[in-house]
Symmetry: none
Subunit: 215 residues, 2 copies
DNA sequence: GCGTGACTTCATATACTCTTGAAGAAGTCC
DNA sequence: GGACTTCTTCAAGAGTATATGAAGTCACGC
Protein backbone atom coordinates (compact mmCIF):
# COMPACT_ATOMS: atom_id res chain seq x y z
CA UNK A 1 0.00 0.00 0.00
CA UNK A 2 2.86 2.32 0.86
CA UNK A 3 4.36 1.77 -2.56
CA UNK A 4 1.08 2.23 -4.32
CA UNK A 5 0.51 5.52 -2.55
CA UNK A 6 4.07 6.64 -3.25
CA UNK A 7 3.69 5.98 -6.96
CA UNK A 8 0.28 7.62 -7.20
CA UNK A 9 1.18 10.80 -5.34
CA UNK A 10 4.35 11.13 -7.33
CA UNK A 11 2.33 10.94 -10.54
CA UNK A 12 0.11 13.68 -9.11
CA UNK A 13 3.12 15.93 -8.83
CA UNK A 14 4.09 15.61 -5.18
CA UNK A 15 7.65 14.90 -4.13
CA UNK A 16 7.31 11.91 -1.82
CA UNK A 17 9.50 10.48 0.91
CA UNK A 18 8.49 7.32 2.71
CA UNK A 19 9.15 5.74 6.06
CA UNK A 20 8.14 2.38 7.45
CA UNK A 21 8.37 2.99 11.19
CA UNK A 22 7.31 5.88 13.37
CA UNK A 23 10.89 6.53 14.41
CA UNK A 24 12.08 6.66 10.86
CA UNK A 25 9.20 9.00 9.96
CA UNK A 26 10.18 11.44 12.68
CA UNK A 27 13.82 11.37 11.65
CA UNK A 28 12.97 12.10 8.02
CA UNK A 29 10.45 14.78 8.97
CA UNK A 30 13.09 16.53 11.04
CA UNK A 31 15.77 16.48 8.42
CA UNK A 32 13.63 17.06 5.33
CA UNK A 33 10.93 19.32 6.75
CA UNK A 34 8.10 18.20 4.46
CA UNK A 35 5.06 20.40 3.85
CA UNK A 36 2.70 17.49 4.37
CA UNK A 37 2.74 14.20 6.27
CA UNK A 38 0.45 11.24 5.64
CA UNK A 39 0.44 9.15 8.77
CA UNK A 40 -0.89 5.66 9.44
CA UNK A 41 -2.25 5.10 12.92
CA UNK A 42 -0.67 1.69 13.25
CA UNK A 43 3.08 1.84 12.94
CA UNK A 44 5.84 -0.34 14.33
CA UNK A 45 7.88 1.10 17.22
CA UNK A 46 5.78 4.22 17.65
CA UNK A 47 2.07 4.75 17.02
CA UNK A 48 0.91 7.34 14.52
CA UNK A 49 -0.65 9.26 17.38
CA UNK A 50 2.69 9.60 19.13
CA UNK A 51 4.41 10.59 15.93
CA UNK A 52 1.74 13.19 15.33
CA UNK A 53 2.11 14.62 18.80
CA UNK A 54 5.89 14.79 18.56
CA UNK A 55 5.80 16.27 15.09
CA UNK A 56 3.53 19.03 16.28
CA UNK A 57 6.01 20.11 18.89
CA UNK A 58 8.50 21.21 16.28
CA UNK A 59 6.60 21.52 13.05
CA UNK A 60 3.65 23.26 11.57
CA UNK A 61 3.36 20.88 8.62
CA UNK A 62 0.04 19.55 7.40
CA UNK A 63 -0.78 16.12 8.81
CA UNK A 64 -3.35 13.72 7.44
CA UNK A 65 -3.97 10.58 9.43
CA UNK A 66 -4.94 7.49 7.51
CA UNK A 67 -6.17 4.43 9.26
CA UNK A 68 -8.40 1.40 9.39
CA UNK A 69 -9.84 2.50 12.69
CA UNK A 70 -13.13 4.14 11.93
CA UNK A 71 -14.25 4.66 15.52
CA UNK A 72 -15.58 8.13 16.01
CA UNK A 73 -13.51 8.57 19.16
CA UNK A 74 -10.31 7.63 17.31
CA UNK A 75 -10.99 10.26 14.71
CA UNK A 76 -11.61 12.84 17.37
CA UNK A 77 -8.43 11.98 19.23
CA UNK A 78 -6.46 12.27 16.02
CA UNK A 79 -7.94 15.62 15.11
CA UNK A 80 -7.68 17.11 18.58
CA UNK A 81 -4.08 16.01 18.90
CA UNK A 82 -2.98 18.08 15.97
CA UNK A 83 -3.84 16.25 12.75
CA UNK A 84 -5.49 18.39 10.08
CA UNK A 85 -7.49 15.61 8.52
CA UNK A 86 -8.40 11.99 9.13
CA UNK A 87 -9.20 9.41 6.47
CA UNK A 88 -10.50 5.92 7.12
CA UNK A 89 -9.49 2.98 5.00
CA UNK A 90 -10.51 2.16 2.48
CA UNK A 91 -10.21 5.48 0.73
CA UNK A 92 -9.46 6.48 -2.80
CA UNK A 93 -6.04 7.76 -3.64
CA UNK A 94 -7.58 10.49 -5.70
CA UNK A 95 -9.46 11.71 -2.67
CA UNK A 96 -6.26 11.65 -0.64
CA UNK A 97 -4.54 13.73 -3.30
CA UNK A 98 -7.39 16.23 -3.29
CA UNK A 99 -7.28 16.52 0.45
CA UNK A 100 -3.53 16.99 0.35
CA UNK A 101 -3.91 19.75 -2.20
CA UNK A 102 -6.65 21.41 -0.15
CA UNK A 103 -4.44 21.33 2.91
CA UNK A 104 -1.47 22.63 0.97
CA UNK A 105 -3.58 25.50 -0.31
CA UNK A 106 -4.41 26.33 3.29
CA UNK A 107 -0.79 26.04 4.42
CA UNK A 108 0.42 28.38 1.74
CA UNK A 109 -2.77 30.23 2.45
CA UNK A 110 -2.20 33.59 4.10
CA UNK A 111 0.14 34.66 1.29
CA UNK A 112 -2.08 34.24 -1.72
CA UNK A 113 -4.58 36.97 -1.31
CA UNK A 114 -7.96 36.96 -2.96
CA UNK A 115 -7.96 38.81 -6.23
CA UNK A 116 -10.54 41.31 -5.16
CA UNK A 117 -12.17 42.59 -2.04
CA UNK A 118 -15.75 43.65 -1.64
CA UNK A 119 -16.33 46.07 1.18
CA UNK A 120 -19.48 47.98 1.68
CA UNK A 121 -20.18 49.51 -1.73
CA UNK A 122 -16.54 49.37 -2.81
CA UNK A 123 -14.99 46.74 -5.02
CA UNK A 124 -11.21 46.65 -4.89
CA UNK A 125 -9.72 44.52 -7.60
CA UNK A 126 -6.09 43.65 -7.14
CA UNK A 127 -5.78 42.01 -10.51
CA UNK A 128 -6.99 45.12 -12.30
CA UNK A 129 -5.56 47.60 -9.78
CA UNK A 130 -8.84 49.36 -9.91
CA UNK A 131 -11.47 50.45 -7.46
CA UNK A 132 -15.16 50.84 -8.11
CA UNK A 133 -17.67 52.60 -5.94
CA UNK A 134 -21.30 51.99 -6.76
CA UNK A 135 -20.16 50.57 -10.09
CA UNK A 136 -18.21 53.66 -11.10
CA UNK A 137 -14.46 53.40 -11.36
CA UNK A 138 -12.30 55.57 -9.15
CA UNK A 139 -8.87 56.53 -10.45
CA UNK A 140 -6.18 55.92 -7.88
CA UNK A 141 -2.43 56.22 -8.10
CA UNK A 142 -0.39 53.05 -7.45
CA UNK A 143 0.55 54.15 -3.96
CA UNK A 144 -3.00 55.05 -3.07
CA UNK A 145 -4.22 51.74 -4.37
CA UNK A 146 -1.75 49.74 -2.30
CA UNK A 147 -2.58 51.68 0.83
CA UNK A 148 -6.28 51.13 0.33
CA UNK A 149 -5.78 47.47 -0.43
CA UNK A 150 -3.65 46.93 2.65
CA UNK A 151 -6.21 48.59 4.86
CA UNK A 152 -9.24 46.93 3.29
CA UNK A 153 -7.67 43.46 3.43
CA UNK A 154 -8.07 43.57 7.19
CA UNK A 155 -10.97 45.75 8.22
CA UNK A 156 -10.79 46.94 11.77
CA UNK A 157 -7.08 46.28 12.11
CA UNK A 158 -5.01 49.32 12.87
CA UNK A 159 -1.93 50.08 10.77
CA UNK A 160 0.70 52.63 11.70
CA UNK A 161 1.76 55.17 9.14
CA UNK A 162 5.09 53.45 8.78
CA UNK A 163 3.51 50.05 8.24
CA UNK A 164 1.36 51.46 5.48
CA UNK A 165 4.25 53.24 3.81
CA UNK A 166 6.30 50.06 3.92
CA UNK A 167 3.43 48.07 2.49
CA UNK A 168 2.79 50.54 -0.30
CA UNK A 169 6.34 51.48 -1.20
CA UNK A 170 9.62 49.86 -0.37
CA UNK A 171 9.91 47.80 2.77
CA UNK A 172 12.91 49.88 3.76
CA UNK A 173 11.05 53.19 3.45
CA UNK A 174 12.70 55.66 5.74
CA UNK A 175 11.07 58.97 4.91
CA UNK A 176 8.80 61.39 6.64
CA UNK A 177 5.90 59.60 8.32
CA UNK A 178 3.48 62.46 7.73
CA UNK A 179 3.59 61.68 4.04
CA UNK A 180 0.92 59.15 4.78
CA UNK A 181 -1.41 61.91 5.91
CA UNK A 182 -1.34 63.32 2.44
CA UNK A 183 -2.07 60.00 0.79
CA UNK A 184 -4.91 59.37 3.20
CA UNK A 185 -6.33 62.79 2.47
CA UNK A 186 -6.24 62.15 -1.26
CA UNK A 187 -7.78 58.72 -0.81
CA UNK A 188 -10.57 60.06 1.34
CA UNK A 189 -11.30 62.75 -1.17
CA UNK A 190 -11.39 60.31 -4.06
CA UNK A 191 -13.53 57.85 -2.14
CA UNK A 192 -15.89 60.60 -1.09
CA UNK A 193 -15.17 59.95 2.58
CA UNK A 194 -16.11 62.65 5.03
CA UNK A 195 -12.97 63.33 7.11
CA UNK A 196 -15.05 64.23 10.12
CA UNK A 197 -16.92 60.95 10.04
CA UNK A 198 -15.15 58.59 7.68
CA UNK A 199 -16.89 55.47 6.49
CA UNK A 200 -13.86 53.83 4.95
CA UNK A 201 -10.59 55.13 6.28
CA UNK A 202 -10.77 55.96 9.94
CA UNK A 203 -8.14 57.68 12.04
CA UNK A 204 -7.07 55.97 15.25
CA UNK A 205 -5.51 58.72 17.27
CA UNK A 206 -2.00 57.93 18.34
CA UNK A 207 -1.79 54.69 16.35
CA UNK A 208 -2.61 55.17 12.70
CA UNK A 209 -5.47 54.29 10.40
CA UNK A 210 -7.91 51.48 9.86
CA UNK A 211 -10.55 50.45 7.38
CA UNK A 212 -13.98 50.81 8.93
CA UNK A 213 -15.89 47.66 9.75
CA UNK A 214 -19.36 47.83 8.36
CA UNK A 215 -22.06 47.00 10.82
CA UNK B 1 -30.77 18.97 11.04
CA UNK B 2 -29.75 22.63 10.75
CA UNK B 3 -31.19 23.33 14.16
CA UNK B 4 -29.56 20.32 15.71
CA UNK B 5 -26.18 21.36 14.34
CA UNK B 6 -26.69 24.94 15.46
CA UNK B 7 -27.47 23.86 19.01
CA UNK B 8 -24.61 21.39 19.20
CA UNK B 9 -21.93 23.72 17.85
CA UNK B 10 -23.13 26.48 20.11
CA UNK B 11 -22.74 24.18 23.08
CA UNK B 12 -19.22 23.43 21.87
CA UNK B 13 -18.39 27.10 22.13
CA UNK B 14 -18.76 28.29 18.55
CA UNK B 15 -20.76 31.37 17.70
CA UNK B 16 -23.13 30.16 15.03
CA UNK B 17 -25.09 31.92 12.30
CA UNK B 18 -27.40 29.96 10.04
CA UNK B 19 -28.82 30.37 6.57
CA UNK B 20 -31.34 28.29 4.68
CA UNK B 21 -30.54 29.22 1.09
CA UNK B 22 -27.30 29.71 -0.75
CA UNK B 23 -28.09 33.33 -1.43
CA UNK B 24 -28.75 34.00 2.22
CA UNK B 25 -25.53 32.22 3.14
CA UNK B 26 -23.48 34.45 0.87
CA UNK B 27 -25.11 37.59 2.19
CA UNK B 28 -24.42 36.62 5.79
CA UNK B 29 -20.88 35.54 5.00
CA UNK B 30 -20.20 38.92 3.40
CA UNK B 31 -21.54 40.99 6.22
CA UNK B 32 -20.42 38.88 9.17
CA UNK B 33 -17.15 37.43 7.82
CA UNK B 34 -17.21 34.14 9.69
CA UNK B 35 -14.02 32.20 10.36
CA UNK B 36 -15.64 28.95 9.26
CA UNK B 37 -18.46 27.92 6.97
CA UNK B 38 -20.27 24.59 7.02
CA UNK B 39 -21.91 24.15 3.66
CA UNK B 40 -24.45 21.63 2.41
CA UNK B 41 -24.13 20.60 -1.19
CA UNK B 42 -27.84 20.73 -1.83
CA UNK B 43 -29.27 24.17 -1.23
CA UNK B 44 -32.26 25.98 -2.68
CA UNK B 45 -31.53 28.79 -5.15
CA UNK B 46 -27.80 28.21 -5.33
CA UNK B 47 -25.87 24.99 -4.91
CA UNK B 48 -23.26 24.60 -2.22
CA UNK B 49 -20.63 24.31 -4.91
CA UNK B 50 -21.55 27.70 -6.34
CA UNK B 51 -21.63 29.24 -2.89
CA UNK B 52 -18.21 27.79 -2.17
CA UNK B 53 -16.78 29.13 -5.40
CA UNK B 54 -18.19 32.60 -4.81
CA UNK B 55 -17.11 32.66 -1.20
CA UNK B 56 -13.56 31.85 -2.20
CA UNK B 57 -13.36 34.88 -4.42
CA UNK B 58 -13.55 37.24 -1.53
CA UNK B 59 -12.84 35.25 1.56
CA UNK B 60 -10.18 33.07 3.02
CA UNK B 61 -12.47 31.47 5.57
CA UNK B 62 -12.43 27.75 6.34
CA UNK B 63 -15.07 25.81 4.42
CA UNK B 64 -16.33 22.35 5.28
CA UNK B 65 -18.76 20.78 2.86
CA UNK B 66 -21.32 18.44 4.25
CA UNK B 67 -23.43 16.29 2.02
CA UNK B 68 -25.26 13.08 1.34
CA UNK B 69 -23.37 12.58 -1.92
CA UNK B 70 -20.61 10.16 -1.21
CA UNK B 71 -19.37 9.84 -4.77
CA UNK B 72 -15.65 10.08 -4.92
CA UNK B 73 -15.83 12.54 -7.79
CA UNK B 74 -18.14 14.84 -5.83
CA UNK B 75 -15.70 14.93 -2.96
CA UNK B 76 -12.91 15.74 -5.32
CA UNK B 77 -14.83 18.52 -7.00
CA UNK B 78 -15.64 20.03 -3.62
CA UNK B 79 -12.07 19.89 -2.43
CA UNK B 80 -10.56 21.17 -5.64
CA UNK B 81 -12.97 24.04 -5.80
CA UNK B 82 -11.82 25.50 -2.53
CA UNK B 83 -13.39 23.56 0.32
CA UNK B 84 -11.02 22.58 3.10
CA UNK B 85 -12.83 19.45 4.12
CA UNK B 86 -15.68 17.27 2.97
CA UNK B 87 -17.92 15.18 5.18
CA UNK B 88 -20.49 12.67 3.99
CA UNK B 89 -23.77 12.16 5.78
CA UNK B 90 -24.35 10.58 8.12
CA UNK B 91 -21.56 11.96 10.24
CA UNK B 92 -21.26 12.59 13.94
CA UNK B 93 -21.56 16.12 15.20
CA UNK B 94 -18.61 15.53 17.47
CA UNK B 95 -16.48 14.70 14.48
CA UNK B 96 -17.67 17.85 12.74
CA UNK B 97 -16.73 19.91 15.77
CA UNK B 98 -13.28 18.31 15.87
CA UNK B 99 -12.74 18.99 12.21
CA UNK B 100 -13.85 22.58 12.67
CA UNK B 101 -11.42 23.02 15.51
CA UNK B 102 -8.60 21.46 13.50
CA UNK B 103 -9.33 23.83 10.64
CA UNK B 104 -9.55 26.81 12.95
CA UNK B 105 -6.19 25.91 14.41
CA UNK B 106 -4.80 25.96 10.91
CA UNK B 107 -6.53 29.24 10.03
CA UNK B 108 -5.25 31.08 13.03
CA UNK B 109 -1.95 30.13 11.57
CA UNK B 110 1.63 29.82 12.67
CA UNK B 111 1.61 32.94 14.80
CA UNK B 112 0.12 31.23 17.76
CA UNK B 113 0.35 34.40 19.73
CA UNK B 114 -3.19 35.64 20.21
CA UNK B 115 -3.69 39.20 19.11
CA UNK B 116 -6.24 39.89 21.77
CA UNK B 117 -6.79 39.29 25.46
CA UNK B 118 -10.05 38.20 26.91
CA UNK B 119 -10.50 39.02 30.55
CA UNK B 120 -13.76 38.70 32.33
CA UNK B 121 -16.21 40.58 30.12
CA UNK B 122 -13.48 42.66 28.49
CA UNK B 123 -11.91 41.99 25.12
CA UNK B 124 -8.67 43.85 24.52
CA UNK B 125 -7.56 43.63 20.91
CA UNK B 126 -4.01 44.68 20.24
CA UNK B 127 -4.41 44.49 16.48
CA UNK B 128 -7.43 46.73 16.51
CA UNK B 129 -6.23 48.94 19.39
CA UNK B 130 -9.72 48.62 20.74
CA UNK B 131 -11.40 47.49 23.94
CA UNK B 132 -14.90 46.07 24.19
CA UNK B 133 -16.89 45.56 27.32
CA UNK B 134 -19.97 43.40 26.96
CA UNK B 135 -19.65 43.81 23.22
CA UNK B 136 -19.65 47.60 23.30
CA UNK B 137 -16.54 49.48 22.30
CA UNK B 138 -14.86 51.69 24.87
CA UNK B 139 -12.92 54.66 23.56
CA UNK B 140 -9.47 54.87 25.10
CA UNK B 141 -6.58 57.20 24.45
CA UNK B 142 -3.31 55.62 23.27
CA UNK B 143 -1.71 55.89 26.68
CA UNK B 144 -4.70 54.43 28.43
CA UNK B 145 -4.81 51.56 25.99
CA UNK B 146 -1.18 50.67 26.47
CA UNK B 147 -1.48 50.82 30.23
CA UNK B 148 -4.51 48.58 30.22
CA UNK B 149 -2.88 46.16 27.82
CA UNK B 150 0.25 45.95 29.93
CA UNK B 151 -1.73 45.28 33.07
CA UNK B 152 -4.16 42.82 31.50
CA UNK B 153 -1.38 40.85 29.82
CA UNK B 154 -0.35 39.63 33.27
CA UNK B 155 -3.28 39.57 35.63
CA UNK B 156 -2.32 39.60 39.27
CA UNK B 157 1.17 40.92 38.65
CA UNK B 158 1.91 44.23 40.31
CA UNK B 159 3.40 47.04 38.22
CA UNK B 160 4.91 50.17 39.70
CA UNK B 161 3.80 53.50 38.34
CA UNK B 162 7.14 54.00 36.69
CA UNK B 163 7.01 50.60 35.00
CA UNK B 164 3.62 51.37 33.56
CA UNK B 165 4.66 54.79 32.35
CA UNK B 166 7.71 53.34 30.68
CA UNK B 167 5.62 50.64 29.05
CA UNK B 168 3.02 53.06 27.79
CA UNK B 169 5.25 55.95 26.78
CA UNK B 170 8.93 56.14 26.14
CA UNK B 171 11.19 53.77 28.02
CA UNK B 172 13.18 56.75 29.22
CA UNK B 173 10.17 58.45 30.75
CA UNK B 174 11.34 60.71 33.52
CA UNK B 175 8.29 62.67 34.61
CA UNK B 176 6.07 62.93 37.60
CA UNK B 177 5.00 59.49 38.86
CA UNK B 178 1.60 60.69 39.98
CA UNK B 179 0.68 61.15 36.34
CA UNK B 180 -0.19 57.49 36.36
CA UNK B 181 -2.86 58.12 38.98
CA UNK B 182 -4.69 60.32 36.52
CA UNK B 183 -4.53 57.73 33.78
CA UNK B 184 -5.73 55.04 36.15
CA UNK B 185 -8.57 57.25 37.23
CA UNK B 186 -9.63 57.85 33.64
CA UNK B 187 -9.34 54.16 32.82
CA UNK B 188 -11.43 53.13 35.81
CA UNK B 189 -14.06 55.64 34.87
CA UNK B 190 -14.20 54.47 31.26
CA UNK B 191 -14.24 50.81 32.26
CA UNK B 192 -16.95 51.46 34.83
CA UNK B 193 -14.72 50.31 37.65
CA UNK B 194 -15.67 51.34 41.18
CA UNK B 195 -12.54 52.92 42.71
CA UNK B 196 -13.54 51.71 46.16
CA UNK B 197 -13.81 48.12 45.01
CA UNK B 198 -12.24 47.80 41.58
CA UNK B 199 -12.84 44.73 39.50
CA UNK B 200 -10.24 45.40 36.86
CA UNK B 201 -7.54 47.77 38.00
CA UNK B 202 -6.69 47.27 41.63
CA UNK B 203 -4.46 49.44 43.78
CA UNK B 204 -1.65 47.74 45.66
CA UNK B 205 -0.93 50.18 48.41
CA UNK B 206 2.69 51.29 48.42
CA UNK B 207 3.59 49.38 45.25
CA UNK B 208 1.43 50.22 42.28
CA UNK B 209 -1.41 48.61 40.36
CA UNK B 210 -2.45 45.23 39.08
CA UNK B 211 -5.15 43.74 36.90
CA UNK B 212 -7.62 41.76 38.99
CA UNK B 213 -7.51 38.00 38.62
CA UNK B 214 -10.82 36.35 37.93
CA UNK B 215 -11.37 32.65 38.04
C1' DG C 1 13.40 71.27 -22.44
C1' DC C 2 8.53 71.28 -20.75
C1' DG C 3 4.37 69.72 -19.04
C1' DT C 4 2.20 66.33 -16.44
C1' DG C 5 1.22 63.46 -12.75
C1' DA C 6 2.89 61.24 -8.53
C1' DC C 7 4.96 61.56 -4.42
C1' DT C 8 6.99 64.23 -0.55
C1' DT C 9 7.64 68.01 2.49
C1' DC C 10 6.43 72.09 4.99
C1' DA C 11 3.65 75.48 7.62
C1' DT C 12 -0.28 76.29 9.95
C1' DA C 13 -4.73 75.61 12.12
C1' DT C 14 -7.30 72.59 14.81
C1' DA C 15 -8.34 68.83 17.79
C1' DC C 16 -7.23 65.96 21.27
C1' DT C 17 -4.32 64.09 25.08
C1' DC C 18 -1.09 64.30 28.88
C1' DT C 19 0.83 66.38 32.82
C1' DT C 20 0.80 68.90 36.94
C1' DG C 21 0.05 70.27 41.67
C1' DA C 22 -2.90 70.95 45.42
C1' DA C 23 -6.62 69.55 48.40
C1' DG C 24 -8.89 66.05 50.52
C1' DA C 25 -9.80 60.99 51.27
C1' DA C 26 -8.11 56.65 52.53
C1' DG C 27 -4.84 53.55 54.39
C1' DT C 28 -1.03 52.23 57.76
C1' DC C 29 1.42 52.10 61.94
C1' DC C 30 2.27 53.07 66.72
C1' DG D 1 -6.81 58.22 68.16
C1' DG D 2 -3.04 60.71 66.09
C1' DA D 3 0.72 61.22 62.94
C1' DC D 4 2.18 59.95 58.91
C1' DT D 5 2.19 58.20 54.24
C1' DT D 6 -0.03 57.07 50.06
C1' DC D 7 -3.91 57.43 46.86
C1' DT D 8 -7.78 59.89 44.39
C1' DT D 9 -9.81 63.72 42.25
C1' DC D 10 -10.01 67.77 39.41
C1' DA D 11 -9.43 71.25 35.90
C1' DA D 12 -6.49 74.06 33.19
C1' DG D 13 -2.36 74.71 30.58
C1' DA D 14 1.34 72.47 28.15
C1' DG D 15 2.19 69.35 24.88
C1' DT D 16 1.38 66.26 20.97
C1' DA D 17 -1.16 64.42 16.87
C1' DT D 18 -3.84 65.14 12.85
C1' DA D 19 -5.91 67.75 8.80
C1' DT D 20 -5.22 70.74 5.23
C1' DG D 21 -3.52 73.76 1.62
C1' DA D 22 0.31 74.91 -0.85
C1' DA D 23 4.71 74.33 -2.56
C1' DG D 24 8.72 71.55 -3.75
C1' DT D 25 10.99 67.39 -6.03
C1' DC D 26 11.33 63.87 -9.22
C1' DA D 27 10.66 60.81 -13.22
C1' DC D 28 8.61 60.17 -17.62
C1' DG D 29 6.90 60.93 -22.20
C1' DC D 30 6.40 64.22 -25.87
Amino acid sequence: MLEEMHAFLQREGFRVLTAVTGKEALAIARSERPDLVVLDWMLPEKSGIDVCRELRQTSNCGIIMVTARSDESDKIVGLEIGADDYLTKPFSLRELASRLRALLRRLRGPEDRPTFLERDNLIISEAKCQVCKDGREIQLTPTEFKILYTLAARPGMVFSRLQLLKAALADEYMGYERTMDSHIRNLRRKLGDDPANPRYIQTVYGFGYRFGEQS
